[in-house]
Symmetry: C2
Amino acid sequence: MKIARFIVDGFACYGQVEEAEVRAIQGSIFGDYRVTGLTFPLSRVKLLPPTQPVNFWNIGLNYQHHLESRVEEYGEGLRERIKHLNPFLKGSGSSIVATGEAIVIPPGLPDFIDYEGELCIVIGRPAHRVSPEDAPDYILGYTIADDVGAGPVWFHGDFTNWRTKTSDSFAPVGPWIETEMDPHNVDIIVRVNGHEEQRGTTRDMVRNCYEIVSGISRYCTLHPGDIISTGSPSPSRPLKPGEVVEVEIPEIGVLRNPIVSAPAS
Amino acid sequence: MKIARFIVDGFACYGQVEEAEVRAIQGSIFGDYRVTGLTFPLSRVKLLPPTQPVNFWNIGLNYQHHLESRVEEYGEGLRERIKHLNPFLKGSGSSIVATGEAIVIPPGLPDFIDYEGELCIVIGRPAHRVSPEDAPDYILGYTIADDVGAGPVWFHGDFTNWRTKTSDSFAPVGPWIETEMDPHNVDIIVRVNGHEEQRGTTRDMVRNCYEIVSGISRYCTLHPGDIISTGSPSPSRPLKPGEVVEVEIPEIGVLRNPIVSAPAS
């Protein structure tokens, strides 16, 4: 089942997506809920990011192909990094935008961004020190992220990657959550201005979703609605304002965001 | 005025602290509210972290003395880092604990932690691209954090500092918010087991609170309740389970947390 969060007539709510319609959900998608008889055309609602995570975790270098290309760029030392799980946090709140919303490059960063199309885990209930075997019980479903970055790593002294990775709108997530799918056998396709740029598969992950949930939960409790983006299959190229980037995982849907420059003033 | 968040009889609410009592607040501390006539003895309530931030920002190396000691340890290259504002995120949710709660060292990390006593800014309303001059209008008040870290930087391949900085309970914050004080002229005192270990002053900050709020808000919107911890005046020493660490800023209060080891199972 596909669960979307959306606004209609000024109200934010969850609903079940059925073809071109969304059927309102009553209750909490992290607890008891029921799908109502109330439907809206998808064309009439504004989709929101599928959750408001307490924490938005990201996994770097979780695909061998992506790692190898980075090793060429940054040296063999990088291999040491993927021996251990090394998630990083992107901000919640204004960093996260929905499908259809613009990725806005702020003044002070270079006028291009890198895309990274990624499968995301959505946590369904509090996970504290869970095993990989039990991890599926703590997962509500899966969605898509574009792990946007601006400029090269450590651009202009940005040692903590805060501006380059977490500026407002640099974390598009959506379009919605798919609760029934095998996360380890799906394609991730990226298109720019409608042309396919990249195609990978989650079969090539270094650590799978259950290992990631288990690994983070050993130290940091995962909360209902928390999102974990599981890494990009390969490196990307810089995109300019005016371009439109789409990330598709056919079993879920398409996350589509135009790129714009913010006014300087 | 001192504003605390607390639980009494199972209900979480805000209140104004007056000596040994807390007077319940009705409404939102980030909008319209009134202080009621309902009071509780502080001894009867359980204090909570003063807010539930969307994002919990931290500033590293914001005091010259702290920077110099790290340069001795890690080399001159570190100086480059403080030329630019380099905030990092700690997790929200389970990372943050209140005064009185334990700092719990999880299995898998070395059995000691470093304390860092810091002044925190609490954001009062959404701040997007505000100037240092206007920043005070966006600040609700100030509180205290202990920026707990476990082991040396990059311990056991922890390149993103996620376990060493953001494990559950590694972000004690409190005891409450002080809304009327000059943040740039207060002492930060750290005691371990009742003995003073460290005394610094916010007069020695490299970047002041208003520059920090302005700097982050150029790229990342700050949300009501967001916390920014502004750095430790000096480096600390490792503390063991069984020890108790207190951070005091006399104008605010005392943040007090015992250190314990989590059971391995």
